[in-house]
Amino acid sequence: MEFDLFTFIAQLINFAILVFLLNKFLFGRVKAAMDEREKKIAAGIEAAQKAGAEAEESARRAAEELANLESRRQEMLDAAKKEARDEALRIKEASRKEDEEQKKKWHLAFAAEQDDYFRKLKVHSGRFAWMVSEKMLRELSGAQIGEKAAEIFARKVEELGEKEASGFAAAANRSQKPLVILSSFPVDSGQKNRIALLMKEKVGCKNGVEFRQDADMEFGIEASAEGYRISWGGKDYTEAMQDEVLGVFKNDKGQGGYDE
C-alpha cells in the first residue's frame, strides 16, 4: 500500500475538475432537460385537467340542454295532442255539419224528384183517365170529351159572379197582352169563338184571347191572370190520387214514405 503524494494531489485536482466538467456537461444539462420535460408534462396534465373540466362543463351544459329539449318536447307533444284532439273535434263537427248539409241536400233532391215524379204521374194518369173517359163517353153517348170540357169551361165563365168577373178582368187587362187559355186537348173553333166572346163580353177582357195546347198539362182547360183562375179539369182527381199513393208507403201512425 504505497502512497504517492504527487499522484494523490493530482487525483484530487483531477477529481475536482471532473466534478466541474460533469456538472456542466452531464448533471446540469440532464437536470435541465428533465425539469423541462416535467414542466411539459405538468403543463400537459394541467391542460388535460382543464380539458377534462371543460368537457365536464360541456357535458353538464349538454345535460341541461337535453333536459330543456326534453321539457320542450313534452310541451310540444302535449300541445300537439291538444291540437290533434281539437282538430279531431273540429273535423268531427265539420263532418257532422257536412252530413247534415248532405242530408238536407238529399232531402231537397228527393223532394224535387218526388215533385217531378208526381207531376209526371199526374200528367200520365190524367191523360190516361182522359183517354179512357173520352173512349167511354164516345162509345156510350157519341159525344167528344174535349167539346164537353170546353162547354163546361164556357158554362163556368158564364156563371161567374160579378165581383169575381171584374177581379179577373182587371188582372187580365193589366198585362196588356191577350189572355192565354191553356188546354190539354185541341179546342174546336166554335168553342174558341164562344169562349172568346164570353171573356170579352161577360168578363170584360179587352186584350183578346189566345188558345194554347199544353202537352205537360193534366187533362183540363184553364185561364189564369195574376192569381185569378178559371178552370175545369182532373186536377182534383189527380191530387186525390197523389195522396192515395203517398198513403201506401206510410205505416199505421202515418210515418215513413216520402215525407221522411
Binding site: M1, D4, F8, Q11, L12, F15, A16, L22, N23, R37
Partner: protein, 223 residues
C-alpha cells in the same frame, strides 16, 4: 510484476512524471466528459427520448433518488459531487476489461484522494446546508465528550473508505495477474467477470457511504 500503477511512469511533462494512475484517470475523465458532452448536446425534452439519453437520465435519476432517500433533502445540491464520485469509480472499475488498462482505483493514492474529497465534502455540505455554528455544534452532540470520538470517526471512516476501495481493486488486479501467469486461458476471463461485479459493487458502496456521511452531516441533530 508491477501492480501499483503509481510506479508505472509513462511519460513526463517537464518535471512532472506522469504515471499510469494519472494517465488512465485522464483517459477515464476524457471518456466520461466527451461522452456526456456528446450525449447531452441534443437532449430531447419531448415524449421520445434517445437511447443514450435514457441511459444517462436513468443513472442521474437513480443517483438523485438514492441521495434524496439518504439525505432527506433536495438532492440536486449533492448530485454533482456524489454522481461524479459514483460515475468516476464505476468507469475506473468497469474499464478494467480493456486490455493494458490499469484502473486508477487500484492505486491507494487515488482512493485516498477520493476519500479525502469526501472527508472535506462532509463539512462543506454541512456548513452550506446548516450553517457553520450548527455544523460545529454537531461535533458536540449529544455531549461535548463525544468530540474526540466524532473526530476519530471522521478520520477512521475516511481511511476505511480509501482502504476498502483500494484493497478490493488492488486484490482483484493482483488475482487476475496471478491467474494470468498460472492459468493463462479461460480462468482470467471468469475472474474478469467477477472483477466487473466487484467493481460495480464497490462503486455503489463508496457512493452509498459517501452519501450517508454527507447526509448525516446535513441533518440537524434529532432528525
Amino acid at each position: 510484476m508491477e501492480i501499483n500503477p503509481d510506479n508505472m511512469e509513462l511519460f513526463a511533462i517537464g518535471a512532472l512524471k506522469i504515471n499510469a494512475t494519472i494517465f488512465y484517470t485522464w483517459i477515464v475523465m476524457a471518456v466520461l466528459v466527451s461522452a456526456s458532452a456528446v450525449i447531452t448536446s441534443k437532449l430531447s425534452t419531448g415524449k421520445k427520448v434517445p437511447r443514450w439519453q435514457s441511459v444517462l437520465e436513468t443513472f442521474v435519476t437513480f443517483i438523485s433518488g438514492q441521495t434524496k432517500e439518504v439525505t432527506g433533502r433536495n438532492p440536486w445540491d449533492f448530485v454533482p459531487f456524489l454522481g461524479t464520485l459514483a460515475l468516476f469509480i464505476l468507469a475506473c472499475n468497469v474499464m478494467e476489461v480493456v486490455p493494458l488498462y490499469h484502473p486508477p482505483t487500484s492505486s491507494f493514492s487515488t482512493t485516498a484522494a477520493l476519500a479525502v474529497a469526501v472527508f472535506f465534502a462532509v463539512p462543506f455540505f454541512g456548513i452550506t446546508q446548516k450553517g457553520l455554528w450548527n455544523h460545529l455544534k454537531s461535533y458536540f452532540q449529544p455531549s461535548p465528550i463525544m468530540l474526540p470520538f466524532h473526530v476519530i470517526s471522521e478520520l477512521s471512516r475516511t481511511v476505511s473508505l480509501a482502504v476498502r476501495l483500494f484493497g478490493n481493486m488492488m486484490s482483484e488486479s493482483l488475482m487476475i495477474a496471478v491467474f494470468l501467469s498460472v492459468v493463462p486461458l479461460f480462468i482470467p476471463l471468469v475472474m474478469q467477470g467477477f472483477g466487473l461485479i466487484i467493481g460495480i459493487v464497490q462503486a455503489y458502496i463508496f457512493f452509498t457511504l459517501a452519501s450517508v456521511y454527507i447526509g448525516s452531516s446535513v441533518s440537524v441533530h434529532g432528525e
